[in-house]
């Protein structure tokens, strides 16, 4: 409870929290755009596969 009071009552901490939230969003959106851009040079055959053993082959 003391920590919470310190967080919401200390000048400057509020600004840091705002900057933190904004930075997380900014980095997330930037990485999303880069993820889309990088796919320009990939085709479906290069997609990572995590397929397991086919059901009809199991056992």
């Amino acid at each position: 409870m003391e920590t919470l009071t310190w967080v919401i009552n200390t000048p400057g901490i509020g600004g840091l929290m705002v900057l933190g939230v904004f930075s997380i969003c900014f980095i997330s959106y930037f990485l999303t755009l880069r993820w889309i851009k990088n796919a320009a040079d990939l085709d479906m055959s290069q997609e990572e596969s995590v397929e397991g053993e086919a059901v009809h082959e199991a056992g």
Binding site: V18, L42, D43
Partner: protein, 459 residues
């Protein structure tokens, strides 16, 4: 998605492409005329703002205890209409409403520009814009002003991303198609297209990102206007300290957002000749939504004012009386007529839910919602709980800055749609493909049915 590429000079432009690229290539005298008129209004506002910066807020009607007036009214109004993009684009995208496709970009653009203008109103109201960083440097997180800082900055960033993502395939199309554009525009399209090739993997990633953003942006938008309401509601001022204020603000925001979308989509449709793509269907469906929101808004207004009036608490009674019967009665009742009576009289009928009817109703609602924001901000501050009462009369400076802001909002919108297409071409094409597939499936089913019926008849 149509992921075909268009190498320079090959494959003729489709009807859709010719329609949406046409206004980007040609600039009519009408455009210059409107832009010139808006520029004059903007310059008038700029002059008024320079005067305010020089002389201080004494040139406005603001002062103790009315610290917030027209500027904060504008702030709440602009943040409210920014919900156009969220509601129309995100909710309709999530619910897969097919008719949304031709209007989503206009809605998303309104969101971004309205947010920019909304934030600028706070700067104007501060009087000393050089103190903008003070809330960040010295603010404590217990202050709703910091919550507002956080939610609006995240919303602006998210809205920009949400506008940009569906624009990428169209930017690539313009990169490949608009080789006759000036060099700076070709460079802009090339850089912003992010090397888009439209291969299957890239399309899948883009659609996934848009889907996630559409879901994410709905709670962000709701939080934004709720937090704006809490800036008022967390004070102990009469008629602000109310639990209903959050949802009341959100309902009003969505309501005014749809109205603003109607206004701008009608203007763009008319000027850019998009009648084939923005049809009666969009007007009818969206008109019903506007009607529903009008009813919701009236319900919230009734709930708020009836309980306050009935309770008659000593601090709230003067404020509610000033609104219902006193110096703010004209503004209050004009608000009720413009937000409820006029929309119902027009939109209740199928004939009213066309371009003309919805445009008239939307202009009434936009005006009515600005008045609503004014009746929330000003009357309470003229009759505060713990201070002497005062009179608030906006000056020409506030009128000029407000007019300049509206002009700037329209200019940003005009310039944006002179550089980027007003309709999401790939989404409309996708919709046409789905429609054609459904029609073919329906025809096959019908043929099967008639064959079955004829066989039954023969037996």
């Amino acid at each position: 998605m149509n992921n075909q590429q268009y190498p320079k000079g090959t494959s003729p432009e489709s009807n859709l492409e010719q329609t949406i690229f046409g206004p980007l290539r040609r600039t009519t005298p009408g455009f210059y005329l409107i832009f010139g008129a808006l520029s004059l209004v903007f310059l008038w506002g700029l002059y008024a703002y320079s005067l305010q910066l020089r002389e201080g807020l004494t040139v406005t009607g603001l002062g103790r205890p009315v610290y917030w007036g027209v500027y904060l009214t504008n702030f709440v109004f602009f943040i409210g209409i920014s919900h156009a993009g969220t509601l129309i684009s995100a909710i309709l995208r999530v619910t897969q409403a097919e008719w949304r496709r031709s209007i989503t970009r206009i809605a998303e653009a309104i969101t971004v520009f309205a947010l920019v203008l909304g934030v600028s109103q706070v700067l104007i109201d501060m009087g000393r814009p050089d103190r903008l960083l003070n809330p960040l440097l010295y603010g404590r997180f217990q202050s709703p002003l910091l919550w507002d800082f956080a939610s609006i900055s995240v919303y602006l960033l998210s809205s920009l991303t949400y506008l940009y993502l569906p624009l990428i395939p169209d930017l690539a199309r313009m990169r490949d198609r608009m080789t006759d554009a000036p060099t700076w525009r070709q460079t802009l399209y090339r850089l912003m297209a992010l090397g888009w090739r439209g291969n299957e993997k890239q399309v899948r990633r883009l659609e996934k990102a848009i889907g996630v953003m559409a879901i994410l942006i709905i709670p962000i938008a709701v939080s934004v206007h709720t937090v704006v309401s809490w800036v008022f509601g967390m004070t102990l001022q009469p008629m602000w300290h109310s639990t209903i204020l959050g949802p009341y603000f959100v309902v009003g925001a969505i309501f005014s957002g749809i109205a603003m979308l109607f206004i701008f989509m009608t203007l763009v449709r008319q000027a850019w000749h998009l009648e084939e793509y923005i049809t009666e269907k969009q007007y009818n469906y969206l008109g019903i939504l506007l009607l529903v929101m009008s009813a919701f808004w009236f319900y919230f207004t009734l709930a708020e004012y009836l309980t306050t009036f009935y309770g008659g608490l000593s601090e709230e009674a003067p404020v509610v009386n000033a609104k219902l019967f006193g110096e703010y009665a004209f503004v209050f009742w004009a608000m009720v007529v413009l937000n409820f009576v006029v929309p119902f009289a027009i939109l209740l009928w199928r004939r009213g839910r066309g371009p003309t009817g919805t445009f008239v109703a939307s202009v009434a609602i936009a005006t009515g919602m600005w008045l609503e924001r004014f009746t929330i901000v000003a009357p309470t501050l003229t009759k505060p709980g713990l201070m002497e009462w005062a009179v608030y009369q906006p000056t020409w400076v506030e009128v000029a800055i407000t007019s300049g802001s509206v002009a700037l909002f329209s200019m940003l919108f005009l310039v944006f749609f002179k550089i980027f297409p007003a309709i999401s071409a790939w989404e409309v094409e996708e919709g046409q493909e789905i429609e054609a597939r459904n029609a073919a499936a329906f025809a096959a089913l019908a043929a099967q049915g008639s064959t079955g019926a004829s066989l039954e008849g023969a037996s």
